[in-house]
């Protein structure tokens, strides 16, 4: 008796203390939520919504089916859950010793066991059957109107339009550098935070687009939830998936397979445009590419090459080596680096082939002029004032070695 009394008093006092603490915690939480509200953010159409509870609104047939299947499964599972745990909680309430319930003595029944084996079996097979058609449809990448190769790099995407209207277009698509810096500052802002890229993939509406994935270094995954696609991009292998977007708009996704340090910073942005807009985009992109095509034989002036190199550096190198060249830890600093200052051949070799088992990726995909420009930039920036110049022709030669 005394023991139970003691326990009861203990419980009461502790409970009241607990209640006080809960109230405090709620206040703290409320305060946190208030500071949080200051960082106002809105839904991003085609990307995540604020506190979104379900899958993205789909804009492809596969996406619609995935959505339907998920909702269907959710309803069935909740129904089973309620039924099974209804029984359990009924039993917990009624069949307890404290209400005087005496234990029954049954402990087996073959017919019941057979019933609750066969019925779930039928249910799961039926569930599988519902999904089968979608699985087959998902994997049917034939008869595409447009084929685009998506190549995963650490840490950006490369898009090459290899068949269909726009054939021959190719570009890299990386996170906007300002977003990476915002992340480091710890004070992010914006509805498209970490989802803004420099060059989105552009595709026409209502056309079957086949995406071929591969990767340059490690496995990445190309995911766009609204389009209902996620496909690993595997180095040395090609895989494919497809979508036919039924609505014009911008759709966002992110890399979905751990690919190293900057895994969180290689978003995907697909812009779906009308057929006419797509044609004019292709036209513009082709002209732009023709204009940008560099003659690797051209002799550059230092200032022009440094200016060009700064753009290349910010788009490709700044994420790891920092805009001020003062990276730390396993990533080598470029500011004051002996290799950068005194070893032009060694630096070019590292750029072309990578280093540290790919921790520094190979940058062969950059053009000769771009590599020459970025090397020259690093030799003439920050505290590096060598005045040395590396011409594109030297890169052409280095590539042949």
């Amino acid at each position: 008796m005394t023991y139970s009394n003691r326990v009861t008093t203990m419980m009461t006092t502790t409970l009241s203390r607990f209640a006080q603490r809960c109230a405090q915690a709620t206040l703290t939480l409320g305060a946190l939520a208030a500071t949080h509200a200051a960082m106002a953010v809105n839904d991003l159409p085609g990307g995540p919504a604020v506190n979104q509870l379900n899958l993205h609104p789909p804009v492809t047939r596969i996406g619609v089916e995935q959505h339907f299947l998920h909702n269907f499964m959710l309803v069935v599972c909740i129904a089973i859950f309620v039924a099974v745990f209804g029984v359990m909680f009924y039993s917990i309430l009624k069949h307890r010793k404290s209400v005087g319930h005496k234990a029954a003595n049954f402990h087996e029944s073959v017919s019941v066991e057979i019933a609750w084996t066969v019925i779930p079996f039928i249910i799961v097979i039926a569930m599988g059957a519902m999904a089968t058609r979608t699985v087959v449809a998902m994997k049917d990448t034939t008869n595409a109107d447009l084929t685009i190769k998506a190549t995963g790099y650490q840490w950006k995407w490369g898009y090459d339009y290899i068949k269909g209207e726009g054939e021959g277009i190719g570009f890299l698509s990386a996170l906007d550098v300002s977003h990476r810096l915002m992340s480091d500052s710890g004070k992010p802002a914006g509805d498209n935070y970490l989802l803004k890229v420099d060059n989105p993939m552009v595709v026409p509406v209502d056309r079957k687009v086949r995406i071929i994935t591969t990767a340059n270094d490690v496995i990445h995954a190309w995911m766009v939830p609204s389009l209902g696609v996620k496909q690993d991009a595997i180095p040395g292998f090609v895989r494919d998936t497809w979508f036919r977007a039924e609505k014009i708009g911008d759709y966002y996704g992110q890399c979905a397979e751990l690919c190293g340090k900057e895994h969180a910073y290689m978003p995907i942005h697909v812009r779906v445009v009308s057929q006419a807009d797509y044609a004019s985009w292709v036209d513009g992109k082709k002209k732009e590419m023709a204009a940008a095509a560099d003659d690797p034989g051209k002799e550059w002036e230092l200032a022009a090459l440094v200016a060009r190199g700064e753009k290349v550096y910010n788009a490709n190198c700044a994420a790891c080596h920092r805009p001020d060249g003062k990276s730390t830890g396993p990533i080598k600093a470029l500011d004051g680096s002996a290799v950068v200052l005194n070893d032009p051949a060694g630096q070019v070799k590292i750029l072309l082939n990578g280093a540290n088992n790919g921790a520094m990726p190979a940058w062969r995909t950059l053009s000769d002029t771009e590599i020459a420009a970025v090397v020259t930039y690093t030799k003439n920036s920050w505290s590096n004032k060598t005045g040395k110049l590396v011409q594109p022709a030297e890169i052409v030669a280095a590539r042949k070695q």
Binding site: L55, I80, A104, H107, A131, T134, P188, A221, G236, K261
Partner: protein
Amino acid sequence: MSAVLDPHGHASPSDHDDHAHGQPYGWRRWLYATNHKDIGTMYLLFSFSMLMVGGVLALGIRAELFQPGLQFVKPDLFNQLTTMHGLIMVFGAIMPAFVGFANWMIPLQIGAADMAFARMNNLSFWLLIPAALMLVGSFFMPGGAPAAGWTMYAPLTLQMGPSMDVAIFALHIMGASSIMGSINIIVTILNMRAPGMTLMKMPLFCWTWLITAYLLIAVMPVLAGAITMTLTDRHFGTSFFNPAGGGDPVMYQHIFWFFGHPEVYIMILPAFGIISAIIPAFARKRLFGYTSMVYATSSIAILSFIVWAHHMYTTGMPVTGQLFFMYATMLIAVPTGVKIFNWIATMWRGSMTFETPMLWAVGFIFVFTLGGFTGLILAMAPIDIQLQDTYYVVAHFHYVLVAGSLFGIFAGYYYWAPKWTGVMYSEFRGKVHFWGTLFFFNLTFFPMHFLGLAGMPRRYADYPMQFADFNMVASIGAFGFGFIQVYFFLAVVVPMMRGKGEPAPQKPWEGAEGLEWEVPSPAPWHTFETPPKLDSSATRVVG
């Protein structure tokens, strides 16, 4: 007097004149331990300390994810935290905890004097210590700990620093330890049962561990193979998984998950056994469908070998591959459902009381089933295309590994610790621990379902602003969850180890059955030195 730590509290070995060898005291007792109870205790303490280490790493992750933007850790350290959290929890916390239970309870439950291979038992425990030191120590190596995820997918592993090799070595050692532990358990169960304890009268905990031990022996060498190939790819110029030399990174995933899927059942089957002991004890009614429980467990084990590629739907499997693995995976729901139904039928029309072990057991059934349902949803290939590698998966496997395995471990602790220590835990503190854990667990992991559905990828150090609120809730929950486990250790475990509390009767639970309740509390240092004579149900000693 400490009951667990001091053999004087037991019928001390020196009381036994017929005992030929001298009994080591002090540190020798633990370093040279061959007694299954001592080794079981060491396993449990080891796994709890690993739980704390892995928990601190998890809190590092959650602190960083409390708000968008990078506040505390840089992305490379973040990846090290996720990787090491996974490895330490799986190989350091959950698996050794169940081996600790096996060591303590299997000889007591089958009426054996000790484990079959007492010295190998010692070795399999002590191997864990250097392995754990290497794993944890890898944080202090140049370049930091491995950061390729606990799944260690190639070719990312090829980019890792020297700590990757250390982790591979540590896993080899832990694998060897697990295999030796499994051999010991199998031989003990098959050879050392007391006369009359037939296989089909054996407690379900022994059954589930017998099946688990076979799974371990089957798959640990597969993991060893996968990581050895990774090692030779890194240093000896082979190209098993290195695409630069014509290797196949997807092959690594096939091999890894051929280990990895049975591994998840290795981590849950012993918990099923614990729950199957507790539910009948507190319902005061025999376990419903004992035979079907044995068959269901075996079916789960067999099916676990043919479902591995459901972790790989997005690698680009052909249609037939996706369909096969989808149907095979969904089939696992059938035997798992049978177990849930059997437990509920055991509770049905029983005479239930809800002491702490029963609360954990009911909590286990309730929350584990939630994880089972999300597993069913993930098994559907088209839905998995949306959810693979998002927080939905993180939510799913924490519902089955924390609310499943860890809840099972806690249930077992409260159920059997009075037998180990000779004192009762504080019922009030046990309940605080249970309700606190249940609340904070759901606060942490339930919002992750929403994050995953909204497409937030896992292993991200930073995320779009729209995900901020749920991440904040999850982080708050995680810290609460962590603190309540510290409370458990300080308020429940430590007092019991120091022998503080009401003395435990030989059988503290009215409805409990089994040979472990036929020996005094605390269990003497040596039990069943001569095989006991059993009654026809093999649950009581008759002479």
